[in-house]
């Protein structure tokens, strides 16, 4: 009896101590969503916390999850690689803006093949994921890589098993370049794949591809860079072979007309331009247009800091910062469209 009492008292004391110590600190800003920008958001959060002491707790549960959580108002902001259409934004009372630009990269695990050796094009990748091409020494792949020693190895396509904007970008591009893909699978954050293995998050796909011999997957470039994965080059809209890097992502984003895009709804895949990377995309932040969350203004301060001071960190991970004119547009959007309990919150006091 005494033991139970002592134990309960200890626990209560612990919890109380924890709660009291927590009261002194401000709430962490909470966000959830896309795994695409996760490495850079986490790096920004770490630096921001060191500078200001305010934590930005971001959980990368997938774009679908981010949309779901912000709609349920269980987080301060959501993050999605697939922009919501203006009609959806209006219906849910959300405001969206692009925060960072990056690229999705096909990665492979073939013995003897090094990063940048393999060249693929959209149609071939589509055929692989449709199950039409099943071995690495298939003539279609050989045609694009005449001098590469491709083994007689089964292809293991790895796809995203969770709802993700990366998935959306990938399937969006493949649907544009392959009518068969568009008809059978389609473009969305979560689709039904006829072959292959599913893995969770960019992290899961990267990990699974590295573990499975003969695998092909698609991940955000930061993951490729951080872990030295074997990436493949792609043949773009203009027929040129391009490698994934900040330069080619920037080339694709350079022509984007953000000003005219309502709700910033713009998809950067398959852009024209000799140096454009076909699988470029922006990652978006979602917030309530008129919400109740007291953390909204602190969150905006964080994003503002990220825009102005976070560039070097982002570039070190090969993300592409937004052009300066877009920054101005975004801050104007904050000023005009974001409110908390009816009153505007930007510029912050």
């Amino acid at each position: 009896m005494h033991r139970i009492f002592i134990m309960t008292a200890t626990v209560a004391a612990l919890a109380l101590a924890g709660a009291v110590s927590g009261l002194a600190m401000a709430d962490d800003i909470s966000g959830a969503g896309a795994t695409f920008p996760y490495p850079v958001y986490a790096k920004w959060a770490e630096a921001y916390k060191q500078k200001t002491g305010i934590g930005m707790n971001y959980q990368s549960i997938g774009s679908g999850g981010g949309i779901k959580q912000i709609e349920a108002s269980t987080v301060t902001f959501g993050a999605s690689d697939k922009p919501l259409e203006p009609a959806d934004l209006k219906q849910n009372g959300l405001v969206q803006w692009p925060q960072i630009i990056g690229g999705v990269v096909p990665v492979v695990n073939i013995p003897g093949i090094k990063p940048g050796d393999l060249v693929l094009d959209g149609a071939t990748v589509a055929s692989i994921y449709l199950g039409e091409i099943s071995r690495w020494n298939d003539p279609a792949i050989k045609k694009l890589n005449p001098s590469l020693p491709l083994p007689k190895l089964d292809i293991a396509p790895i796809y995203r098993s969770d709802g993700s904007g990366t998935n959306f970008l990938f399937t969006n591009y493949l649907s544009q370049v392959s009518p068969a893909f568009s008809k059978t699978i389609g473009a969305n954050t979560s689709v039904q794949w006829p072959v292959g293995i599913g893995a969770k998050g960019n992290e899961g796909v990267a990990n699974q591809t590295a573990q499975t011999s003969g695998a092909i997957g698609y991940v955000e470039y930061a993951y490729v860079k951080q872990t030295n994965m074997t990436y493949a080059k792609l043949i773009n809209h203009d027929g040129k072979t391009v490698a994934p890097e900040a330069r080619t992502f920037q080339a694709a984003a350079a022509n984007a007309d953000w000003e005219r895009a309502q709700g910033y709804y713009l998809i950067l895949t398959n852009q024209p331009g000799a140096a454009s990377w076909p699988l470029t995309g922006a990652s978006f932040i979602l917030m309530h247009a008129d919400g109740k969350d007291p953390n909204t203004a602190p969150a905006l301060k964080f994003f503002d800091w990220a825009f102005k001071s976070g560039q070097p960190l982002a570039e070190s991970l090969d993300y592409v910062p937004l052009p300066a004119n877009v920054l101005k547009l975004v801050e104007k959007t904050w000023q005009d469209s974001l409110k908390v309990n009816g009153s505007p919150i930007w510029p912050a006091k």
Binding site: A32, I61, G62, S63, G64, G65, I67, K68, Q69, D154, A156, S161, D162, G163, S164, G186, N188, T189, S190, V191, Q192, W193, P194, G196, I197, G198, A199, K200, Q208, Q211, T212, S213, G214
Partner: protein, 321 residues
């Protein structure tokens, strides 16, 4: 009344009130157990209702799992759950049986306690550890050695060959089955061991007196006597395997497909929920996942209920003898 009896009567009344409160508290706690089950069931029904109403019985018979067209079917997760659990039982039961026999018959007395402690330590390993061990250690081994061997030797055998076709991914239904087998092994072993130990000595000694070998005593005397408990233990192990989440999620391959081969990736109900719930957008998608949870709950309920009833009935019969 004297000055002594008044406080005594007060004390009696106080005791009676304390008794009432305490008894009420225990009863409330006991009823809470019932309320919990009812609550879980109701919450799942409520959440899964939109999906069940939309798809009706078709929910159980289709493998389509398409968030784009909002068509969902439970057949692939259901198939995966049943197959991985069956595979786990096929591997674990004979192994557990062997270990239980060893520990109760052949093992030298001084080794019995340490070895049985070791086997029970396997039960203490958290399921997520099994998951990452399966992904990082078991899967590569299976991919590079066991699976190619299986494909080469058994893949072309007519009949069961279909079970061993396809590229060796390393992860898939088979790996999930292996990991589950390791997880339920200690559980079934300890149940069987206890039951074997509970065999009446007189029965065994009578058999020995008739000249039976050690194996014959086990097979013809101990086992039949232990049948009820063994079956009960196996079914409880099965219940555990059906609901296991973390160990399976890492290694099952996450594919909403039924392909007939054990080497193929698949999915189980709990793995689907764990992977997709936080991201499911749209009422029907979320509801379908909750409906899956309801399905799993009902499935485990039926298995556990059957196991318990079987145990009760055979216990009663045993008492008559």
């Amino acid at each position: 009344m004297s000055a002594v009896t008044i406080p005594y009567q007060l004390q009696l009344r106080r005791e009676a009130r304390s008794e009432y409160i305490f008894r009420f508290m225990t009863m409330a706690a006991a009823l809470l157990v019932l309320a919990l089950l009812a609550g879980v069931l109701l919450a799942l029904l409520y959440g899964g209702w939109p999906a069940l109403r939309t798809f009706r019985f078709g929910f159980l018979t289709t493998t389509i799992w398409n968030p784009v067209t909002e068509q969902f079917g439970a057949l692939a997760p259901l198939y995966g759950t049943v197959i991985t659990s069956l595979l786990a039982m096929l591997l674990a039961v004979p192994l557990a049986f062997g270990i239980a026999i060893f520990l109760t018959e052949t093992c030298p007395l001084w080794l019995r306690s340490p070895i049985s402690t070791c086997i029970e330590l396997l039960a203490a390993v958290p399921s997520i550890v099994f998951g990452i061990w399966g992904l990082f250690v078991l899967a590569p081994v299976l991919q590079h050695t066991v699976q190619p061997w299986l494909i080469d030797t058994l893949g072309d055998v007519p009949g069961i060959g279909k079970l061993f076709r396809g590229p060796p991914y390393g992860i898939g239904l088979m790996t999930a089955g292996f990991v589950l087998a390791v997880m339920v092994l200690p559980f079934i072993t300890s149940v069987m061991r206890e039951i074997f130990l509970a065999t009446p000595r007189s029965l065994k000694e009578a058999a020995y007196g008739l000249g039976a070998t050690q194996w014959e005593v086990i097979w013809d005397v101990v086992l039949p006597n232990a049948r009820a408990g063994a079956v009960g233990g196996i079914m409880l192990g099965l219940g555990r395997a059906l609901g296991e989440t973390m160990a399976v999620t890492f290694v099952v391959g996450n594919a909403h497909r039924i392909s007939g081969s054990l080497l193929a990736p698949g999915t189980t109900i709990s793995a689907s929920i764990a992977n997709e719930f936080t991201e499911a957008v749209g009422k029907l998608y979320t509801s379908s996942l909750i409906a899956l949870g309801l399905l799993l709950f009902v499935l485990t309920f039926v298995i556990i209920a059957a196991a318990r009833l079987l145990l009760l009935r055979l216990e009663a019969r045993g008492a008559q003898v």
